[in-house]
Amino acid sequence: MRFAITMLSIVAIASIIGTVIKQSEPYNNYLIQFGQFWFPVFEQFDLYNIYQAFWFLIILLFLVVSTTLCVSRNTPKILKDIKKFQSSLTPSSMKKFRNYYEFKTYKNLEEISKIFKRQGFQIKKSNNPSLVIAKKGTLQKLGYIFTHLAIIVISVGGILDGNLLFKIQQTLGIKEVETRNLKFSEVPFKSQLNENNFSYRATLMLNEQEKNDRALIRAKDGYLVQHLPFEIKLDKFYIEHYSTGQPKSFLSDIRIQHNGQEFLKTISVNKPVSIDGVTIYQSDFQDGGSRLSLTLLSLFDEFKPTGLSSEVYKQNEFNTDNENYVFEFDDFREFNIFQVKTNNALATKNIGPSVVYKFRNSSGQALEYQTYQNPIPENDKFYFMSGMREDLQSEFRFLRIPADNNLEISSYQMFVKNLKSDVLIKKNINQLINKSSFLVDEAAKKTFQQNTYDIFQTFLQSGYSGIASVIEKSIPLENQETVAESYIKIIYFLAETINQDLIKNQLIDVSFIQDALNAYSDSFFYGPSPFVILNEYEKIYASGLQLTKDPGKIWVYIGALFLVIGIFCMIYVQEVRVWIIEKTKNNYAIAFASNREHIDFDRFCENIVKKINIKDKT
């Protein structure tokens, strides 16, 4: 018993460890998390797959065996107990009971026995004519058998569905986990499990219109290939939405070929389908290689917008004069649900598609980008948003390009083009000088012209941060703030006058200018990727199916039923034993005993005694 409790405690502690260390992650994650020293130590104890660890299974097995022994040893005794009546007691030993009553009644023993019978007691007369023995609730003892049996049955069911069989095969060297990244057809026989495999939980990711008769089982740092008794083809995957845009259901139309028959089924979350003992679940989805038609836009107007057609998971080369880059498209999301602020109220909204890609240079370094197709509303204005991050751990930093009054990006393109036009810059600086009354002599005009031109060029070449470093270098500290303010004013003023035509044609509002200047300045932190505009797309999904074969399930459920019955018997059936003795004519003593005495039991005894007496009076 003591040993069993120790083992049970180990199981409990191991289970807790398993909840703290995220299970069945790629081994690289653990290496990063725990470091070179602890990673192999933890691996030794199988802490990354603790619930499948050999030692864990052995302890469970031991618990099952010891419970079985316990039940088989105690059951005959208990069954005997249930049938047996307790032995008689002497009047003096009866007095020791907590619920002991003496009273006088004109009823005889026969009548008193009847009252007990009506309360559900079994009565036994002893050899002594003045003693009656009664008992009730012996089923409580069955509770023991049921609960312990339940634990055995549940565990056996669980073991049937566990991977113990594979573990043994693996130990014997018959099977092994594959860790290389291979196609299903290239996986060696040793890592394949045939369709007669007793139980499994496998996953299968299918693109739309793709089919397969094999699935994948994750095991430790690798996988196994499970042959299925049928072939599945994914016709279509689709998402239904609530009016707010949040997903309502994920569904897959699948086509199953089994023994020459074809079944058309639709599965969704909470609505799996079973065929030949294998249950197919909707468990995941991802992009299945959506086709994208894009336009690449230079943020500094260095080249003309160029078209690019690609697919998710495809790579496209992109060469500039001094570097060769590669676009790696990783994901395309048709729906992006966000809390959007409109009219000062937060609302959940779908803001439309986005594309995720990496932009890799020839030395292998990559930046990750996420770009949204549609302009996103923010405080009654709209912005084209694209996020960039250096590594997967950081948050995206967003470049926000203002949309024009037609909700298009073209005015921003025009804006940048105008900013970069030397002719326009010089023309507008001259206008500024002509308007400025404080510039009297030619020399001052000349200096002003040159300074203004330099400031603007600094901005064009390195944004606000360039201006800031110029000021830091050349202006005394106490004047920096005022100078910065005037520089910013000059830049703004020039940008506005340079783009007068856009405003006149009502393509943009005045407020556009500041947003556009900010976007231009932020572009220096955006990295080398051109801005990607998504024109058209064809969404193709991949649906993640789970395939479960669990013949032990029914046993687990039967065990669970036993468990409930058992606990109910143990807690709510009360075992009561009663001795009634007629000491002298019409003078009785009653002793009640129960293995569980508490307040309700006291009341119960009192009630019965009252019943014997009350009937007496009438």
Partner: protein
């Protein structure tokens, strides 16, 4: 007698009306659950007579709210009664008002031994759970007003289940109070309820978590209607036993004999609530496993929530084993049940806060 007739009649009418008019919103299992709930409620009304009044009051408040809404959520802004009393938000706020009030009066009752304040404490608790249950019922209705496909039983996120926790714990306490004929444990049990109330208030005002959200696909199942409530009967019962254990320990070590019931009564209540909690927790875990088999493709995935449920289960199995088989009584069991609350709390919210897994609906 009239009350019983009224009670049964309203259950039958309400269930019948739903079965005639709303079957298109239910699958066959949900219809089954509705039909089975008819005898269950009738039984509950006779097992605990006060429940009848609770049921009827909640029904009246719900019907009034439905009448005032007139099928449009906008009315909760304009209609005075809805805005301040009968919308789910205000009803739940009234609950969060009366539970603390009840705690204060219970404490006063314990210290001054004032019968009047004891009764007041009980009544405040009754008002709180009446408001709370009505709040959840109205919220259920409101979810359908948002959109027919959004409508669902309000036990689907952390905010809603915290309300449920307060209500179930409160109801169970009131039942035991009635049975054990002492109001002196109120000042203890109401502490844990008010801790939950504090969380609800913080969650509402700091995180605006009170908005009704549509169900994610994984939760769209009839299993939710039985899995979640039975789990919370378990949590509630374990919490009550822990608070009684606290009272028990204080009584024996700090000489609070005067203001607390006898050890015998408290031990008995501790046992009873753990027993009932254990049965419901077992059933809830089993139902959860069956649901998981249907939704996630495996009845047991060693998901953190599942694993912690197992640990909670083992903990109270051991408690009951010690008491029933080994015949243990006294301080050890009280300490055990108090520590059990820590484990239960971790399984309830700690897992959502600190661990990731499949049960990620209630993230903060």
């Amino acid at each position: 007698m009239t009350l019983s007739i009224l009670y049964i009649a309203s259950i039958l009418i309400a269930a019948g009306y739903s079965l005639i008019n709303f079957t298109e919103f239910m699958d066959q299992y949900e219809i089954g659950i509705l039909i089975l709930s008819i005898p269950s409620f009738i039984w509950l009304g006779f097992f605990w007579p006060s429940f009848k009044k609770l049921f009827l009051t909640v029904l009246i408040l719900l019907l009034s709210a439905i009448y005032l809404f007139q099928g449009d959520l906008v009315n909760q802004q304009s209609n005075f009664l809805l805005k301040y009393f009968l919308s789910s938000q205000s009803l739940i706020m009234w609950m969060t008002f009366f539970f603390p009030l009840s705690l204060l009066t219970y404490i006063y009752h314990s210290i001054k031994d004032s019968m009047f304040f004891g009764k007041l404490g009980t009544n405040f608790s009754w008002i709180a759970i009446t408001a709370g249950f009505s709040g959840l019922m109205v919220r259920w209705y409101e979810s359908y007003l948002i959109n027919l496909d959004v409508g669902h039983i309000p036990i689907s996120n952390l905010y809603e289940v915290f309300v449920l926790f307060c209500l179930i714990t409160g109801s169970m306490y009131l039942y035991y109070e009635h049975k054990s004929e002492t109001k002196k444990l109120g000042s203890f049990v109401l502490i844990i309820i008010n801790a939950a109330v504090a969380f609800i208030l913080w969650y509402t005002f700091a995180k605006s978590a009170d908005a009704i959200q549509p169900l994610v696909p994984a939760l769209q199942s009839y299993w939710m209607k039985i899995h979640v409530p039975s789990n919370f009967i378990g949590y509630g019962a374990f919490s009550i036993s822990a608070m009684i254990a606290l009272a028990y320990l204080l009584r024996n070590s700090f000489g609070l004999k005067k203001i607390l019931p006898s050890s015998y009564v408290m031990e008995d209540l501790m046992y009873k609530s753990i027993a009932v909690g254990f049965i419901f927790f077992t059933i809830a875990t089993i139902l959860g496993a069956i649901w998981a088999a249907e939704a996630w493709g495996g009845y047991w995935s060693w998901d953190p929530k599942e694993t912690w449920a197992l640990i909670v289960w083992l903990n109270y199995a051991a408690w009951l084993h010690l008491r029933l088989v080994k015949g243990l009584r006294g301080d050890i069991l009280a300490w055990w049940s108090l520590i059990g609350l820590l484990i239960t709390t971790f399984a309830f919210i700690g897992v959502n806060l600190f661990l990731s897994g499949l049960h990620s609906y209630g993230e903060l």
